[in-house]
């Protein structure tokens, strides 16, 4: 049984009237690549900021490698590398100067800093631009430089907040590759993401975060297999409206063998069903045809991580994203991030 490196216990945090975390607990074992999955505003960033000692929880415990982060923050900071979501870069410095500053803040001796700079320049393919000013960098370069600065002191634990948001596919692939490599070499990696495919492709284990709590936890394959049943996505028209979707729902209620039924508003009001077995599908088609709602398209699959999310939260991740998209307050969020 590998050692637990990150222990978060019953974290509570409020920003004024808003409860960001309501009893968040998590354990991450050494050498794993762990994903926090959830929509924006679920509390992922707050958790990572607390872990990195940037923010004090209202209550709860934080331990990294057995060290109490609230009592000995400096010892914990030495163990952690943190790649924040909003990339804070000094535009007027070159990448190298920024890394040298970072090295000094982690008290690396000059020779070790030089060696690390060479290694990381290779690892993240930064040769061509590391001596240019950061202000000229693309999003992908910035993120790689930020990753380099998080890795500079060989942290035992690397924490990344939404590491690939807004990146081109190539930069994303580079970062994924580096993260896997780090994990293989024993670094514990904790990342947050609201990309299902990112967590599915990368993480050994994941936690689904909703409203400041972990509501499901496990390896992607365990979570998927635990669901059972077949998934069916059904449309009676390419884009239906909610009235039509309700009619379809009504018809299907009469069909046996359907375990679950959700209208996916984000995808043209298609219906996502969980069925006992394939045998359910033919009678289902006949019922709909009889009700003058012939099937336009129907696809069938084994459970995906999206289904895991749907099962755990009662809505798809995309719906959850849409729900919070209108209610975000950039001003309040900036205030939270500012000291």
């Amino acid at each position: 049984m590998p050692e637990t490196v990150i222990e978060l216990e019953e974290l509570h945090k409020r920003y004024g009237p808003v409860e960001a975390l309501g009893g968040f607990s998590l354990q991450v074992s050494q050498g794993s690549l762990y994903g926090l999955l959830g929509p924006n505003g679920a509390g992922k960033t707050t958790v990572l900021r607390i872990l990195c000692t940037l923010l004090a929880p209202d209550s709860g415990h934080v331990r990294v490698a057995g060290i109490d982060a609230l009592a000995q923050p400096r010892a914990v900071r030495e163990l952690l590398g943190y790649v924040a979501q909003e990339v804070a870069i000094d535009k007027i410095l070159t990448g190298r100067e920024l890394l040298e500053l970072q090295g000094a803040l982690y008290h690396l001796p000059a020779d070790r800093l030089r060696a690390r700079l060479l290694e990381l320049t290779d690892l993240l393919a930064m040769h061509d631009w590391i001596d240019r000013r950061c202000g000229t960098y693309s999003g992908g370069m910035r993120r790689r430089l930020d990753l380099a600065s998080g890795l500079l002191h060989n942290p035992a634990v690397l924490v990344l907040d939404e590491p690939t948001v807004g990146l081109d596919i190539e930069s994303r692939a580079t970062i994924w590759q580096v993260l896997r490599q780090l994990r293989d070499q024993g670094t514990t990696v904790l990342l947050s993401s609201h990309y299902l495919e990112e967590v599915d492709a990368l993480a050994d284990r994941l936690a689904i975060v909703e409203d400041g709590r972990v509501i499901a936890e496990g390896s992607p394959s365990t979570l998927k297999n635990a669901l059972g049943g077949d998934r069916v996505t059904l449309r009676v028209r390419e884009f239906s409206d909610d009235v039509e979707a309700a009619r379809v729902q009504q018809v299907l209620q009469a069909c046996p063998g359907i375990q679950q039924m959700v209208v996916n508003r984000a995808q043209g009001h298609s219906l996502n069903l969980v069925v006992e077995s394939e045998a359910v599908i033919e009678p289902l088609r006949r019922q709909l045809a009889a009700a003058d709602l012939p099937v336009f398209s129907l696809s069938q699959s084994r459970p995906s991580l999206d289904d895991v999310y749907l099962q755990a939260t009662g809505r798809t991740l995309m719906d959850a994203e849409l729900a919070v998209a209108g209610s975000r307050d950039p001003k309040a969020e900036r205030k939270q991030a500012m000291r």
Binding site: C52, A75, D90, L105, D122, A156, S171, A337
Partner: protein, 290 residues
């Protein structure tokens, strides 16, 4: 532009943090690096430095010309107005530079760069403040020396060796006090707009309500009182005396409405102000940096 990483590069195993280095070595390393960053910024964006010298220079030339024909007897000891103004402009230079000390810190707060510093295992977070003080002190002294040099070229005089020492000590105390104030504001105010607004509002009125441009004897009583309580005056008068060749600590340099002040009095007030301001903002810094 984007290329895959070379997989031959080794990623060393995480190692335990070193506990062997002395705290002092760590501390000087981090302060040096943070200060270096501020100077790199200055070297690549020298406009702050240039504007900080140019503005007082314009004051010196324009105001000097404006009052060149000031009536005899307006100034004590038949001093020329240019010579009188010199001390005021030197102090104003150092004061303006120090008043801007909080701006880089405010931008670091706003852009999240401060968070990058706070995630690092700094030996002491005072390093961030110390680096700012070191930077702004050198910057303002360099600017003041540039103004002093120009004033000398304009024929407004130059203090002797002891005088120069006295000028530098006076400026240093004023710069410490004002830097403390500005850093405090940089952490207390919500953003750079507010900070710039406060700087704007404080800057010129403090200059006009001091003895930089005119002696107290020239002012209405109420303004004279204000000027005699203004910290800038406490810096201007010892420097003016030093320029006049008077470097005695005990000689009277200002006839304030409440009594005569010596150079020693002025320096003491500035020192108390500097220490007091840093003590005052300390709880704020502790809270924001912990």
């Amino acid at each position: 532009m984007t290329s895959a990483p070379s997989l031959s590069a080794p990623v060393p195993r995480p190692e335990a943090p070193q506990a062997t280095r002395s705290a002092l070595a760590d501390l000087s390393q981090e302060i040096l690096a943070l200060t270096k960053r501020l100077f790199l910024q200055l070297a690549r964006r020298p406009s702050t430095l240039v504007a900080g010298v140019l503005q007082p220079l314009i004051w010196l030339v324009l105001f000097g010309a404006l009052f060149a024909k000031a009536p005899e007897g307006l100034l004590p000891d038949g001093m020329s107005y240019g010579r009188f103004l010199g001390a005021g402009v030197i102090v104003f230079t150092a004061f303006s530079a120090a008043l801007n000390a909080g701006l880089p810190v405010m931008f670091d707060r706003e852009f999240g760069f401060l968070n990058r510093l706070l995630v690092a295992p700094l030996r002491s977070r005072s390093s961030i403040v110390i680096a700012s003080v070191l930077y702004i002190t050198s910057l303002s002294l360099v600017q003041s020396l540039a103004i002093m040099g120009t004033a000398a070229l304009l024929g407004y005089g130059w203090p002797g060796t002891y005088g120069l020492l006295l000028v530098l000590i006076t400026l240093l105390l004023l710069v410490f006090a004002v830097t403390g104030l500005s850093l405090g504001l940089a952490f207390a105010l919500p953003g750079h707009i507010e900070l710039i607004a406060v700087i704007f509002v404080v800057n010129l009125p403090l200059l006009f309500a001091s003895t930089a441009l005119a002696p107290i004897s020239f002012m209405p009583a109420w303004l004279g009182w204000l000027a005699a309580l203004n910290p800038l005056t406490f810096a201007i008068e010892p420097i003016r005396a030093a320029y006049g060749g008077n470097v005695s600590l005990t000689a009277t340099v200002l006839e304030a409405p409440y009594g005569a002040l010596s150079t020693a009095h002025c320096l003491l007030v500035l020192a108390i102000l500097a220490v007091g301001l840093f003590l005052l903002i300390r709880p704020l810094l502790d809270r924001k940096l912990s």
